[in-house]
């Protein structure tokens, strides 16, 4: 039996609607496909190969350059009218409470059209070039290529051949239905038509982008199929929000690791006192070590048909992994109608605490309790989570140490930078 749900897919590109109608090859417009991209020029941002703190050379780009480039290009596309709406005209607020969920009222984000069927029981599905994918996107929606400079310094080329390396270019494009200002998509190796599945190289690329932006307020996110990804073409999302995400403020409890697991320097914790159960991976000797470990975990999940979401936070130093089951519950009719009526699809941003609401009533009445209630439906049960966690540890060659650490209490994850006062102490689980 095939499990499906009906949803109105989010439109991330202006070319998404007529995807089925255009003939392939020689499309006659500047797209990101094999027909156009190899002979086109896009700006290239080349990131530092080793994002550690090294003194900059004179001709390296200044530290805020990446942000300037991204926001400047984004604003430029705003003036060109490429977005479906002005997201800055949508009301937004931080809901009072310990975690500070961020709610937004956006009545125009979701189309008023017939919902499509999405299969939610297969996390891995083969790439289908007949369906919409990012090679069909017009180049005006692409902001720049994102490639490894191979050196210790970043640099920027205003215009360079799109296949500057021997492999397919990685492209950063706008999301025409942005959740927030600056919402972009990172599409690794766009010409290779990779389906939505994580591999080590792509994951490392995403970490590099977080490190390059070097801002605690710039996060990347990933949704697997079955966890509310709408397009089966490998992509990450990213945007700025100058407040901490609730999940970043939640308590965590370190999972002690036995010898073998410590080699990479990665620390693993469990999220505490948060509606969705998840793992937190941080530090690591190098970005590569962190990417290796987390991508192994993701690969196990997708190979074993467990939908999941990933949040990359703290400039690539901290990664949240959320296995989830909401779509399956929805397909089996196990979600309450009240929650279904909000039409909130809990993908990575919602799980992290940034919730876009479609109806004004929901927005006015949004509370920490209501957000908690919604997100609690997303989480795996404690038993199932422990089971999955054990498999993930296996796959990542981690061994949980049997020795209990002295303190059994939840350890608070420090807030990276935050202007608002956060209530200290543990949350009481309702």
């Amino acid at each position: 039996m095939k499990l499906t749900i009906k949803r109105v897919p989010t439109v991330v590109s202006n070319y998404q609607e007529d995807a089925g109608e255009r003939p392939r090859g020689g499309c006659g417009r500047n797209c990101l496909g094999h027909c156009c991209l190899p002979v086109s020029e896009l700006p290239v941002y080349a990131f530092k190969a080793n994002p550690t703190k090294l003194p900059l050379q004179e001709d390296a780009v200044p530290t805020d350059f990446f942000i300037n480039l991204l926001l400047g290009q984004w604003e430029d596309r705003m003036t060109q009218g490429l977005f479906r709406y002005d997201v800055t005209a949508c009301e937004t607020k931080v809901i009072p409470g310990n975690l500070g969920f961020v709610a937004q009222l956006n009545e125009g984000r979701h189309l008023k059209k017939r919902p499509t069927e999405f299969r939610v029981d297969r996390v891995l599905q083969p790439f289908d070039s007949a369906k919409f994918n990012f090679t069909k996107v017009g180049q005006e929606e692409a902001l720049f290529q994102f490639e490894n400079s191979g050196s210790d310094d970043s640099y920027f080329l205003r215009s360079a051949a799109a296949t500057v390396a021997d492999r397919a270019p990685n492209v950063v494009a706008i999301n025409v239905s942005p959740i927030e200002y600056g919402h972009v998509l990172l599409i690794p190796r766009v010409l290779d038509h990779l389906p939505q599945r994580i591999d080590q190289e792509s994951f490392l690329l995403a970490l590099h982008m977080a490190a390059e932006a070097a801002s605690p307020y710039f996060r990347l996110g990933y949704n697997s199929l079955g966890a509310f990804a709408t397009i089966n073409h490998l992509h990450f999302q990213a945007y700025y929000l100058t407040v901490p995400f609730p999940v970043e403020k939640a308590a965590t409890q370190r999972i002690p690791l036995a010898e073998g697991g410590i080699k990479s320097g990665v620390k693993v914790s469990k999220l505490m006192n948060y509606p969705v159960r998840g793992l937190v991976f941080e530090e690591g000797n190098t970005l590569n070590d962190l990417a290796n470990l987390v991508s192994s975990a993701c690969i196990w999940l997708q190979d074993n048909n467990v939908p999941y979401n990933v949040l990359i936070s703290d400039s690539g130093r901290k990664i949240f992994l959320f296995p989830q089951c909401y779509a399956e519950k929805q397909a089996l009719g196990e979600v309450s109608q009240e929650l279904l009526d909000t039409q909130v699809n809990p993908a990575v941003w919602e799980i992290s605490g940034h919730i876009v609401l479609k109806r004004r009533d929901d927005y006015e009445e949004a509370s920490e309790a209501s957000a908690w209630r919604l997100l609690a439906e997303v989480s795996l049960s404690e038993a199932r989570f422990e089971e999955v966690k054990a498999y993930i540890f296996d796959a990542a060659c981690l061994v949980q140490s049997q020795v209990e650490e002295e303190t059994d209490d939840a350890i608070y994850a420090p807030v990276p930078v935050g202007p608002s006062a956060v209530g200290e102490g543990c949350l009481v689980i309702p």
Binding site: P43, V61, P62, D64, F65, I67, N68, L69, L70, L71, G72, Q73, W74, E75, D76, T79, D86, T88, A89, C90, E91, T92, K93, V94, G100, V102, Y155, F156, L157, R158, E180, Y181, G182, Y217, Y240, L241, T242, V243, P419, S420
Partner: protein, 380 residues
């Protein structure tokens, strides 16, 4: 003050620092309206326009506004040199020194008020030759449509019931305001020569809401040259200015970071309208275009000639855009400047994208921080 001679309208400037609070400048329009040649007005106190039938309460209101150094508008019966009475809308405004806030002048604009009913034809009665503060009905062309039929009115034929109270129309008030604005603009355009920046209101931070420290911090990280203005406050004052903007208004002869002629200080410009950057060479059409876009809450990019503090000019690539806060409504406007004649290193970005980067960074800061309630200082 010869530049003021170019302006239309009936107005005068006084100097409150001199004994007797005399008139120090009278426009040609005022001379025509009141019948006094300009040389006869200089050195006199403006009460010379008042007369027997001038309402004492109105006069006392004006006196009080002068004492309190604030703007004031009142319809008042004045007398011309020949003794004939006429009604004017008197628009009084103090002219402040931008840096130290002292009152340099009082500006008084007189706009004739048309009678509500057709004027009765009375034989002109000679009124006592008392000095009155009379509004002069200028015979120059008036912009308001309602005055079209009365462009030139023969003074002798006008018979006014002196006791009949007149009320200024919206048109009259607009006329007064626009004349006053023009005068302020002119004073500023030539202030480079006088060395003074003037303001319509005392330019200190007391009148404007203070931005929160977290917003100031976030804005402080933005490297471009920009200011934020608040359209909801009178005369759309500057509420934030970046360091780079202050440097932009200074002159750097040595091509180093050390400015040989420093620009405006933050204290000088916070609370002031942006017009202090403009000068005689600044295109009025471009300024109007900017105003139109601001009113329509749209962004625009323009090239215009602007002036540094020392009076030298520079070609400015200016981008103005509305900035919304978390309520979704426009809270500020951002003005990002770029001196096109100076050398810049954009590391490969085009100047336009570099500027838009500042706009984006301001948007993110204002939106996010207002969502968490930390846009204004709590004491507001």
């Amino acid at each position: 003050m010869e530049e003021l001679d170019e302006l239309r309208g009936s107005f005068l400037l006084t100097d409150p620092a001199m004994p007797g609070h005399p008139i120090v400048y009278a426009s040609r329009g005022l001379a025509a309206l009141t019948g006094y040649p300009r040389r006869e007005l200089l050195g006199r106190n403006a009460r010379l326009f008042q007369g027997a039938a001038t309402d004492r309460a109105a006069v006392s209101g004006v006196r009080e506004a002068v004492r309190a150094q604030r703007a004031h508008q009142v319809a008042i019966l004045n007398y011309r040199r020949d003794g004939s009475p006429h009604w004017v809308l008197l628009h009084l405004a103090p002219v402040f020194h931008a840096a130290d806030g002292r009152v340099l002048h009082f500006l008084a604009v007189q706009v004739p008020i048309a009678p509500a009913s057709p004027p009765r034809r009375h034989p002109g009665r000679p009124a006592p030759l008392a000095a009155c503060r009379e509004e002069a009905r200028g015979e120059e062309e008036l912009p308001c449509a309602s005055h079209v039929g009365e462009v030139f009115v023969d003074i002798d034929k006008r018979g006014l019931e002196a006791e009949e109270l007149r009320i200024a129309s919206g048109c009259d008030k607009e006329m007064a305001l626009s004349t006053a604005n023009n005068i302020f603009s002119t004073l500023n355009r030539y202030s480079k020569l006088t060395g003074l920046v003037v303001c319509e209101r005392r330019c200190d931070s007391v009148g404007i809401p203070a931005l929160s420290s977290s917003l100031n911090l976030s804005l402080g990280r933005i490297k471009q040259s920009f200011v934020l203005t608040d359209r909801h406050l009178p005369d759309m004052p500057i509420v934030y200015a970046s360091d780079a903007f202050l440097s932009l208004t200074g002159k750097d002869f040595c091509c180093s970071n050390h400015l040989t002629y420093p620009g405006y200080s933050r204290e000088e410009i916070l609370g002031c309208n942006c017009r202090f950057l403009n000068g005689p060479g600044t295109s009025a059409e471009v300024l109007e275009e900017i105003n139109q876009h601001i009113c329509r809450e749209e962004a625009c990019t323009v090239h215009l000639l602007n002036y540094r503090k020392d009076g030298s000019t520079f070609r400015d690539l200016l981008h103005v855009s509305p900035i919304r806060n978390s309520s979704g409504k426009v809270a500020f406007h951002v003005w990002v400047h770029l001196d096109e004649s100076a050398k810049h290193d954009f590391s490969g970005l085009t100047p336009e994208v570099w500027q838009l980067g500042a706009v984006g960074a301001v948007r993110v800061a204002v939106r996010s921080l207002s969502a968490s309630g930390s846009l204004l200082r709590p004491s507001q």
